[in-house]
Amino acid sequence: MLRKALILEIRSKYALALNDRQEFVRLAKKPGMVVSREVWYTPEDLYRKSRVIPVPVRLAAVAAAVLLVLVSGLLIPGGDPAAAVAAVVSVDMEPSVQLELDRELKVIGVRVLSDGGELPEEETLRGGSLQEALDRILPDSPDNPEDSTVLFGITVLDESLGEEQLEEICRGALIRAQHSPVHSGVLSVPADSLTGAGSRGLSSGRYQIWLDTQEDETGENPAEDPEERLEEIRNAPVGKLVRENARVRSLDKNVPGPPAGVNPGPPVPEKPEREEGGADPEPVQQEQGDDDEKAPDSGSPGPGGTDGSGRAGGENSGSGNR
């Protein structure tokens, strides 16, 4: 977020300024600052007092950080333990691969979960964006175009990310793939399924499908051994999993729904009945997407102008608070 500020006073480590939202702020001192000059600044330029932390506390903090790195290294095999995993996207096709992402949706971890097919080198996927990784992973020409199917399993671990955002990226990758898969699906995977998936060597998508079948044990074969079922799911073609599981959402409008006799999915809401003698019930409004993209703030029009962004939240940082 870019702001403009009028410099009022320059001190040894910072300058006092009045910004275009009529807030007084402290800006980190930089060369060339002059009183009465108006400058552009970003939140990173706000001055923050460094706090003096007692040495024993600093040592304890360092020890705790080292322990955390070691422990997270054990829990996230194949991943970079130093970066926080903000989301996991598993891609089931032939082969299956699981991508760990940071908050910027950059790939920080790659796990190949099955053999078969060709994958780009793991190192070429790490560090790139999710979009780039998917573009490399999805095949240009599938071995069996008739049965090319992709199942995406999406787990969001960081609240700042949205599942829809990840789903859109997956959808975009499918569109860009030279030979779009015949079927494609996406499944939401809760965070607490990841550990179980990891311990069984399954992608999060396949593991969640297995968990769903365990919950739905009211079918015709309730006595089926869960471990046998797990192995079936592990080895099942992706197309079969996508077609037969109602919880898998289609990413492609051409994907047919589950065949008759298989779990029909959640009930469709009934159309409201017309009351006798009354007016027609209100039609159900379809939610419209927000077409108006909010342009990034490029600063207010000038002195005295108000900021139209409506953001609450100031930028005072005298005590180190954001």
């Binding site: 977020m1 870019l2 403009k4 009028l6 009022l8 006073e9 001190r11 009045l18 939202r21 009529q22 807030e23 007084f24 702020v25 402290r26 800006l27 930089k30 060369p31 060339g32 600052m33 002059v34 009183v35 009465s36 000059r37 108006e38 400058v39 552009w40 600044y41 970003t42 330029d45 949706l105 964006s129 999710l130 979009q131 949205g162 829809e164 955002q165 859109e168 990226i169 975009g172 993209e293 909010k294 342009a295 990034p296 703030d297 490029s298 600063g299 005295g304 102008g305 108000t306 900021d307 409506g310 953001r311 609450a312 939240g313 100031g314 930028e315 005072n316 940082s317 005298g318 005590s319």
Partner: protein
């Protein structure tokens, strides 16, 4: 704010390609959209804040950005990285040229300023003078500029309320007389007459005091910065209740 970054990137690339195919009307819009990024890159390259009014490096950066829009090829990499490289090179070239031709003027042996025009210099001096006078006025009320960040309301609604409150106080002769005599805001009277809670007034006391002093001071240039235009217009409707110069 949760943004669909991937689709925004795609839209940006689409717009750039359309520009390259002849839709020239997109150029201005793209430049406006990318302006915050441009300023961020320039600031990083120069190690200074970019002057909002007079910055040769900003002009150089704009040229480089426009160039980048014409030359970018999506299959050769990331657009923002491409822009960063072009802007950086152009800005550094500009700085080297300025140093070679000696366009910088030492002032008072300490400061260096690049002069755009004599008018710009005069305006800056006038504003600088007002800032210094405002600082002295605040000092008489026991307030320094350094006290004001903590006192500034963070929420826009609160800030607007405090600004409007300042105008109401300034318009009220009885409140202003009490304010001038006691050298502080008459909180009880303000609470009684204008219904503002003591807690809010205490939290933003210095900010409100600064706004009232500014209204009363006749310092017109800096007043435009501290009070938004609609508050200023409202203040101008009432007769001047005297000033504290």
């Amino acid at each position: 704010m949760d943004m669909n970054r991937a689709s925004q990137d795609e839209k940006l690339i689409d717009d750039i390609l359309r520009l390259q195919q002849g839709e020239e009307m997109l150029r201005e819009d793209l430049i406006r959209q990318l302006n915050p990024f441009l300023i961020h890159v320039i600031s990083r390259v120069t190690g200074r804040y970019v002057d909002a009014h007079n910055a040769p490096e900003y002009s150089a950066g704009l040229e480089a950005l426009s160039d980048a829009l014409d030359r970018f090829e999506p299959d050769r990499g990331n657009f923002l990285s491409f822009v960063s490289v072009l802007v950086r090179n152009r800005v550094l070239d500009g700085i080297r040229q300025e140093n070679r031709h000696g366009n910088t003027v030492p002032l008072e042996g300490v400061l260096e300023e690049t002069l755009a025009s004599p008018e710009d210099f005069t305006e800056r001096l006038s504003l600088k003078d007002e800032i210094q006078r405002f600082s002295r006025i605040l000092d008489q009320w026991g307030i320094a500029f350094d006290d004001l960040p903590e006192s500034s309301p963070r929420h826009r609604d609160t800030r607007e309320s405090m600004q409007k409150l300042s105008v109401e106080i300034w318009k009220d002769p009885v409140l202003m007389e009490s304010f001038r005599n006691r050298r502080r805001l008459p909180r009880k009277e303000i609470h009684r007459k204008l219904g503002v809670s003591d807690r809010v007034l205490t939290a933003h006391r210095s900010y409100v005091t600064a706004c009232v002093l500014l209204l009363d001071s006749g310092l017109e240039e800096i007043r435009q910065y501290l009070l938004p235009s609609e508050v200023n217009r409202d203040a101008e409707k009432s007769p001047d209740s005297g000033n504290t110069k």
